[in-house]
Amino acid sequence: MKSSALLRADLESALGGRFSAELNWRARPARECVSTGIASLDALTGGLPRGAITEIHGPASSGRTSLMSAMLAAAAAREEICALADAGDTFDPASAQALGVDLSRLLWVRCGGNPEHALKAADMLVQAGGFGLVALDLGDVSPSVARRIPLATWYRLRRAIEDTGTVMLLVEREQTVKSCASLVLEMRRESVVWRGVAGCSRMLRSARFRAASEGTSVPIGLAG
């Protein structure tokens, strides 16, 4: 099997006359990573890569939205401006603020159940530049619809965001972005914490989630 250097030399000798530059790979600098807002996840992943797509997927009640809120809160703490393209119009400002999100730094685009509008809005937000974090929430879009989104759309988004300092976050039920995502987090719920006596003064206290990336998982605590 030919080494890549030999292969390149062959190609250059064959096609050299047609190209003005050598066929060198474009050196890609190491991506800057920022905190997710959750220490255990930072330790697992090294943080959220800027200029790349991070995908969070999992079933309902697996902690995807809580994790997204934690990331929005961390971005706001860095005094960055964030945007959320909300395909299903499911964002709850009250619970997000309770989880630390600064609502005045958040541009919320309500797409009323139209994933196409959400994709277009996310594209416009990325093209505008200057956002610290752009989240695209397809969490309530059925996987069959999400799978129909052409791969070219994700490639385009990845290319648009590549040279920017924006963190692109994608929330969905199943993994659809494939190789366009630099970081993939799979969420699942571990347990639910109830407090009090059943049938009397019981209340939902909290929930424990787990995030997995490349086969390793860590618990996600919401208790800051």
Partner: protein
């Protein structure tokens, strides 16, 4: 250098200002028959100060005015020179000495005292010892003596209001398409922005008025988040706005006006966090509003009420730090169903046992509640509900409530 233009026999002030405005945009209306302008920078156009003054006299003569013009280092000396000497005068040092003290416009008491002292000219008044004048005539005497010495110094106080920043155009043929209309708007906006730039101003609000054929005028106002004067941005914003709110009839005339304010001055820094460029952000917001509808893109703001899930969407303005988010709960975030899903709930003992709604079916594995809330009972839109947190057999956690007014069950959202 300043030039004072005085019409000794009186004149229409507007005519006088009109003549002066041919030489400078900054005009002080000192009195109904006197104006003062700054002539700095005019030497390249007209030559020496005397030649500038000559040009002003000629321009006034063309307008039918007989004026005296004096050029001096400060506005007050120029005014006194124009009122005291006929024709054109360049006020060289000491030239003011022969002017009568009445030109200083002293109060009756001071004028009487000066007359008693035998002081009749600027030169005589200027020669008096300053301490003695201060002791006998007070603050007014000191001020007048400084003027008599030609030493007064003050900035010009332009009294001419900024002209209205408006452009309009009557059309020979009614327009029905937005594209040719955008072409005309672009032309008007270019002129408007050039005038704003010449005054060092920017627009904070744009108003567009389209006269329509056989219909009431179509008026749109574009409130900008910060002052701008970029014709291209204005055109895109107006075009997007007109695409969202098209006029209902052919357009016969176009008028644009701008509310002019001082431009925004921002100190940039190397360590300021990432933020969208304001002009790009404004355009992006307009494009997104066109895509998802007005009111669906903005910054969420919680309402000051106990009614659950009350919020409004306000205009996104970057970061105003309305309310810094603070970690105050460890409950998972809610994903809301908008509107809440009407549910069929089996609750044999008053506690939900099985839930069925659009897309959600399951047996209740765990539940907590009811948490009773109510409010606004004094108005028509009252609410009263019993809330339950339920874990269903489909694996998800939901917020379920029963409306206590009609007994109906609703799924409000899922904890996620």
């Amino acid at each position: 250098m300043f030039a004072a233009v005085d019409a000794p026999h009186g004149a229409d002030l507007a005519l006088l200002v009109g003549c002066a405005s041919d030489f400078s945009p900054t005009i002080e209306e000192t009195s109904p028959s006197t104006v003062v302008i700054s002539i700095d920078g005019l030497t390249h156009l007209f030559g020496s100060p005397r030649e500038i003054a000559d040009a002003i006299v000629r321009r006034a003569a063309d307008a039918g005015l007989a004026v005296n013009v004096a050029v001096a280092d400060n506005p007050d000396l120029a005014v006194h020179g124009a009122r005291g000497f006929p024709g054109v005068t360049v006020m060289e040092p000491g030239r003011e000495a022969g002017l009568p003290v009445a030109l200083l416009d002293p109060s009756d008491g001071t004028a009487f005292t000066l007359a008693l002292w035998g002081i009749r000219t600027f030169g005589e008044f200027a020669a008096l010892p300053e301490d003695g004048v201060a002791e006998r005539l007070g603050e007014e005497g000191v001020r007048l003596q400084r003027l008599a010495r030609g030493a007064g110094s003050r900035p010009l106080a332009p009294s001419n209001p900024a002209p209205p920043f408006a452009e309009s155009m009557e059309l020979e043929h009614p327009l029905t398409l937005l594209e040719p209309l955008a072409f005309l708007l672009g032309r008007l906006l270019n002129d408007l922005c050039a005038r704003l730039e010449s005054r060092g101003l920017a627009a904070h609000e744009l108003k567009l008025c389209l006269s329509l054929e056989g219909a009431a005028p179509h008026e749109r106002a574009l409130r900008l988040p910060y002052p701008m004067r970029a014709a291209g941005t204005f055109l895109k914003l107006l075009s997007l706005d007109l695409e969202m709110h098209p006029p209902g009839a052919p357009v016969t005339a176009v008028a644009i006006s701008a509310e002019a304010v001082n431009p925004r001055v921002v100190q940039h820094g190397l360590f300021i966090p990432l933020a969208p460029e304001p002009q790009k952000l404004e355009l992006t917001l307009a494009r997104i509003a066109k895509l998802v509808g007005e009111g669906n893109a903005g910054s969420p703001e919680l309402m000051d009420t106990h009614r659950p899930r009350s919020f409004r969407v306000v205009r996104f303005g970057g970061a105003e730090n309305r309310g810094q988010g603070r970690l105050s709960a460890i409950l998972p975030a809610l994903r809301l169903f908008r509107p809440a899903l009407r549910a069929k709930v089996e609750a044999p003992d008053g506690r939900p046992g099985r839930v069925a709604a659009d897309g959600v079916h399951g047996r209740v594995l765990e539940s907590a509640g009811p948490w009773r809330t109510s409010g606004d009972w004094w108005i028509k839109d009252a609410w009263a509900r019993d809330e339950w947190d339920v874990a269903l057999s489909d694996g998800a956690l939901y917020l379920l409530y029963r409306d206590r007014y009609d007994g109906e069950w609703f799924l409000e959202g899922a904890y996620d």
